[in-house]
C-alpha cells in the first residue's frame, strides 16, 4: 500500500514511556521465571528506557544500532538459556530494534489515513494484534506438531535435548516407523485405494446431478438439494450407525447372491459409504461454478451444430472444471480423513490411515502419529496451492482480472 501520511519523528516523552512499558512486560515474564515479578518489572522498564534512549541518540546510524541490539540480545540469550535462548534472544533483539525506530520515526502512521486520532491508531494496532492472536491459535497446533515428530523419545513432549538443539534429541525414527511398519503402510495403501475410487464415484454422479439441478425448471429442487446435501449435515455417528446395520446386509447380498469375493466386498462397502459422504461437497462446488455459467454459450454451441455431448465436453466441462476439481478434492479429503464411518462399516482389512491414527491416539500413544500428521499437513499445503492455482486459472478463463 502506498504511503498515505507524511511521517515525522515523535517526541521522547512518547517513545520512552512506551518502550518502558514494553520493557516492563518483558520484565514481568523474566522476573516471574526467576521468582520475583516486581523486581523484573522495574529492571525491565529501566533497562528498556535506557537502551532506547541510547539508540535514539544515535538514530542517524539506524542500521548499525539495530544490528548491535540484535547481537546484544542474541548473546545474552545464549548465556542465559543456551541455544534455544539464543534464537529467542535474536528474534527479540531484531523485533526490539525495529520497534524502537518504528515508534520514534513515526513509521506506524505511514500507512494510515492522516486524519485518524491517536486513539484510532492505537485501536488499529490493537485490532491487528487480536487478529494475529487468532491466527496464531489457528495455526499454532499444526506448527507445533512438526518439530515434535522428530523427537528421539517416545513422548509427545519437548525434551530438554530438543530445546538445546542437541542433535541427539532428534531422530527420524518415527518416520522410519511409518515407512517400515506394516500396519502403517497397509493403512496408508488402503487410504490410497479407497479415497480415489470414492472420489471418482462422487464426482461423476455429483457433477451430473449438479448440472441437472442448475437447469431452470427442476421440480422439487429445494427438497432434492436438501436431500443430496444431507450427508454433510447429518451427524457422522448417526450415518455410521445406520450404515453399520445396513452394510452388513449389503455385504451378505453381494457375497452370497452375486458371489463376489469377500475381500472385495469389504472394500466395496467402504467405498460406497465414503462416496455418499463426499457427494455434498461436489454438489456445492459444482453448483457454485454453474451459477456463473453463461447459458448462451451452450445455445451458441448448439447453433453451430454441436450435439449435447460435444457441447458438454467442449464448452461446459472446461468452464466448470475448477468446480469439479475443487469438489473432487473435498470429496477426496473427506474420505481420506474419515474415521467414524469406516470404524463401523469396515473390517481391519480395510483399515485406513485415520483409523490407524485413531487407534494410536486411543491405545498405544506413539509419536509416529505426529510424523504422519506432518506428512499429511504437507499434503494439504500442496492441495491448497493446487486449489489457489485453479482459482486463478478459472478467473483467467472467464476473463476476470486477477483480484
Amino acid at each position: 500500500m502506498a504511503i498515505m501520511t507524511v511521517i515525522s519523528r515523535k517526541p521522547l516523552s512518547f517513545v520512552l514511556p512506551s518502550m518502558g512499558l514494553l520493557g516492563a512486560l518483558f520484565g514481568i515474564l523474566m522476573g516471574m521465571s526467576m521468582g520475583n515479578a516486581g523486581l523484573g518489572i522495574m529492571i525491565g522498564a529501566a533497562v528498556s528506557v535506557g537502551l532506547s534512549y541510547v539508540t535514539i541518540l544515535s538514530a542517524a546510524k539506524e542500521k548499525m544500532m539495530r544490528w548491535s541490539l540484535f547481537f546484544l540480545s542474541l548473546i545474552s540469550g545464549y548465556y542465559a538459556f543456551g541455544p534455544a535462548g539464543m534464537i529467542a534472544g535474536g528474534l527479540w533483539g531484531w523485533f526490539y530494534g525495529w520497534f524502537v525506530f518504528w515508534l520514534f520515526e513515526g513509521r506506524y502512521r505511514a500507512r494510515l489515513h492522516s486524519y485518524l486520532t491517536s486513539g484510532q491508531v492505537l485501536w488499529h494496532f490493537t485490532f491487528r494484534l487480536i487478529c494475529g492472536a487468532v491466527f496464531a491459535y489457528l495455526i499454532m497446533p499444526i506448527i507445533v506438531v512438526m518439530p515434535l515428530s522428530f523427537n528421539a523419545q517416545n513422548y509427545f513432549t519437548f525434551t530438554p535435548e530438543m530445546l538445546q538443539f542437541d542433535p541427539a534429541g532428534y531422530s527420524l525414527k518415527h518416520y522410519m516407523d511409518f515407512f517400515y511398519n506394516n500396519e502403517w503402510q497397509r493403512s496408508f495403501k488402503n487410504s490410497l485405494i479407497i479415497a480415489p475410487i470414492a472420489t471418482v464415484i462422487s464426482v461423476t454422479l455429483g457433477t451430473l446431478a449438479a448440472i441437472g439441478l442448475s437447469q431452470s425448471h427442476v421440480p422439487f429442487k429445494r427438497l432434492i438439494t436438501a436431500l443430496l446435501i444431507s450427508p454433510m449435515i447429518v451427524p457422522l455417528i448417526i450415518s455410521a450407525t445406520g450404515m453399520f446395520f445396513f452394510y452388513a446386509t449389503v455385504g451378505n447380498f453381494l457375497e452370497n447372491s452375486l458371489g463376489i469375493d469377500k475381500n472385495l466386498v469389504g472394500y466395496v462397502k467402504v467405498i460406497l459409504a465414503h462416496s455418499v459422504l463426499g457427494i455434498p461437497f461436489v454438489i456445492i462446488t459444482v453448483t457454485a461454478t454453474l451459477v456463473g455459467f453463461d447459458n448462451s454459450l451452450t445455445r451458441a454451441s448448439a447453433n453451430m451444430g454441436a450435439g449435447p455431448v460435444k457441447t458438454f465436453f467442449k464448452v461446459q466441462m472446461p468452464l466448470i472444471m475448477p468446480g469439479v476439481v475443487a469438489g473432487g478434492l473435498f470429496a477426496f479429503i473427506t474420505s481420506f480423513d474419515e474415521v467414524v464411518v469406516i470404524m463401523f462399516v469396515g473390517s481391519s482389512k480395510q483399515k485406513t490411515l485415520p483409523w490407524q491414527m485413531f487407534i494410536g491416539l486411543k491405545e498405544q500413544i506413539s509419536p509416529t502419529i505426529l510424523a504422519v500428521a506432518t506428512i499429511l499437513v504437507c499434503m494439504s499445503i500442496a492441495l491448497l496451492v493446487t486449489l489457489e492455482l485453479l482459482r486463478r486459472r478459472s478467473e483467467r478463463l472467464r476473463g476476470l482480472s486477477p483480484s
Partner: protein
C-alpha cells in the same frame, strides 16, 4: 384476410401451437434435468437415507417379547397390573410353556437381555428358569406358580410381571422415554430414579457446549473475517491460507496436536511453568475435560464461521462506514448501527453451520473430552458398540437427528442451502 391475434393460436415452426410446443419443451427439459439427477438421488436414497431410516426404526421396534412369549403376553392382557396382585395360575402356566419352547430354540436368553434393560436381574432370571423348565412336563407338573417361585423368587414379586406387561407390545415408546431419563411403567411414563438420570444432562451439556463453541467461534472469527474482507486482495489471500490450512488438515491431526498442546506435560503447560506463571506442581488440567473439548472443537470449527462471515463482509462497501462517520457517528455507533447489522446474515449462517456440526461431533470429544467433556454422540456410540442397547442408541440418534434437521431447515430458510460456500 386478417387473423385475429387473440383468438388464433400462435404457431411454432412445425405448425403446432406455440403454447403446446413450449410446454412440451419445458417438460422435456424437466425430464432431462431429472434424468441427470436421478442416478445420484437413487444412490443417496439407497446408500444413505434408507440405512438411517431403518436404523432409527429400531428405536420403536420391540417384537422380541411378544414373539418369544406369545401365550404369556396374551394371558397378561386380562391381568390388571395396577392392583398389586400376582397374576393367576394360567399366566404362570403360559410362561412355563413359553419358556420351554423358547429354551429349545435358544431364544429365552434374548428376552432376558431385552428385559434386563428395564429391570436388572431379568437376564439371569430367564436363564435360571429355562434350565429348570426344560425338565418339566407341561401337562403333568401343573400347577406352576409355586414351582416357578421356588426356581426364582422374582416370579413371586409383582415387578417382573409389570415389566413384562408394559414391554409386551410390538412397538414401544420405551426407548424414547429411556432416552430422556424416563421409563415406561404400568401407571404411565415416570422419571428414572435420580441416581440413573444422565442422558438429559448429556443432552444439555451437548447443547451448552455447542453454544459456547459457537459463541467462541463468533468472537474469534468476527475480527479475522473483518480483517480478511478489508485487506487488499494480495494480503488477504495470503492470510486466507492460514484459515484454510487447518480447515484442510486432517481432523485427527488437529486433535492430536491439541493433545500435544494441552496435556499436563504439554507445550502450553511447559511454557507456563517455564515463565513461572504456573508452579510445576500445579500444572493446569486442560485436557480430558470440558476445556479440552471446547478449545479443540472451537479450533476445528472456526473456519466454518470465518468463511461465511467473510463472504458477507466482502459485499459490504467500506463507504457506508465512512459515510456514517462523516455524518457524525462515533466509531462505535458507526460500527454498531451501520456495519454490524449488515453482517448479521453472515453470523447467522456461520453460527447455524457451526452449531449443527458441533452437536453431532464424536471424534474430538472422544479423544480430548475425558469423562466430563463428552457429547451425546459418544453415548450413542457407546450404546451401539459397548452396552449393545441398540434401541436406546437409535432413540438417542433420532432425537439428535431431529434437532439437526430443524436447524438444517432453519439454515435453508435463512441462508438457502445452495448458498453454502466452501473455501471461498
Amino acid at each position: 384476410m386478417s387473423v385475429n391475434p387473440i383468438t388464433a393460436p400462435l404457431l411454432a415452426a412445425d405448425g403446432t401451437p406455440l403454447k403446446k410446443s413450449l410446454g412440451r419443451a419445458l417438460r422435456r427439459q424437466k425430464i432431462r434435468a431429472l434424468m441427470l439427477i436421478a442416478p445420484l438421488l437413487l444412490f443417496v436414497f439407497v446408500a444413505f437415507v434408507m440405512p438411517i431410516v431403518s436404523m432409527l426404526f429400531r428405536s420403536v421396534e420391540n417384537d422380541i417379547v411378544a414373539n418369544t412369549l406369545p401365550q404369556t403376553v396374551l394371558e397378561l392382557k386380562s391381568w390388571n397390573a395396577e392392583l398389586g396382585e400376582l397374576p393367576p395360575e394360567i399366566v404362570y402356566a403360559a410362561i412355563a410353556s413359553d419358556i420351554k419352547i423358547a429354551a429349545k430354540a435358544k431364544k429365552h436368553t434374548k428376552v432376558g437381555l431385552r428385559l434386563n434393560y428395564e429391570q436388572s436381574g431379568a437376564s439371569s432370571l430367564f436363564k435360571k428358569t429355562a434350565r429348570q423348565v426344560k425338565k418339566w412336563d407341561l401337562d403333568a407338573d401343573a400347577p406352576f406358580k409355586e414351582k416357578l417361585i421356588k426356581v426364582h423368587k422374582s416370579w413371586g414379586q409383582i415387578e417382573i410381571w409389570q415389566t413384562l406387561k408394559v414391554h409386551s407390545s410390538n412397538y414401544t415408546s420405551g426407548y424414547f422415554l429411556n432416552a430422556i431419563d424416563m421409563r415406561k411403567t404400568v401407571s404411565g411414563p415416570e422419571f428414572q430414579p435420580e441416581e440413573k438420570q444422565v442422558l438429559i444432562l448429556l443432552f444439555k451439556r451437548t447443547l451448552i457446549m455447542s453454544l459456547i463453541i459457537m459463541g467462541a467461534c463468533i468472537f474469534l472469527g468476527y475480527p479475522v473475517a473483518w480483517l480478511l474482507a478489508n485487506l487488499p486482495a494480495r494480503q488477504s489471500n495470503l492470510l486466507m491460507i492460514l484459515v484454510l490450512l487447518p480447515f484442510w488438515t486432517s481432523l485427527l491431526v488437529r486433535t492430536s496436536a491439541w493433545k500435544v498442546m494441552l496435556q499436563q506435560q504439554g507445550v502450553i503447560n511447559d511454557l507456563l511453568v517455564q515463565i513461572g506463571l504456573v508452579a510445576d506442581s500445579a500444572r493446569l488440567v486442560m485436557i480430558n475435560n470440558e476445556t479440552g473439548t471446547i478449545v479443540a472443537m472451537t479450533h476445528i470449527l472456526l473456519p466454518f464461521m470465518i468463511l461465511p462471515m467473510y463472504s458477507v463482509m466482502q459485499t459490504i462497501p467500506p463507504t457506508y462506514l465512512r459515510a456514517a462517520k462523516s455524518l457524525g457517528a462515533t466509531n462505535w455507533t458507526a460500527f454498531w448501527r451501520v456495519y454490524f447489522p449488515q453482517t448479521v446474515p453472515g453470523i447467522g449462517a456461520g453460527s447455524i453451520l457451526v452449531f449443527i456440526l458441533a452437536i453431532g461431533y464424536y471424534i474430538t470429544p472422544e479423544i480430548v473430552g475425558g469423562s466430563k467433556g463428552v457429547f451425546i454422540s459418544n453415548r450413542i456410540a457407546y450404546s451401539i458398540l459397548k452396552s449393545l442397547n441398540w434401541g436406546l442408541g437409535a432413540a438417542l440418534a433420532s432425537i439428535l437427528l431431529f434437532a439437526v434437521l430443524i436447524l438444517y431447515w432453519t439454515y435453508d430458510k435463512i441462508v438457502g442451502i445452495d448458498n453454502v460456500k466452501l473455501g471461498g
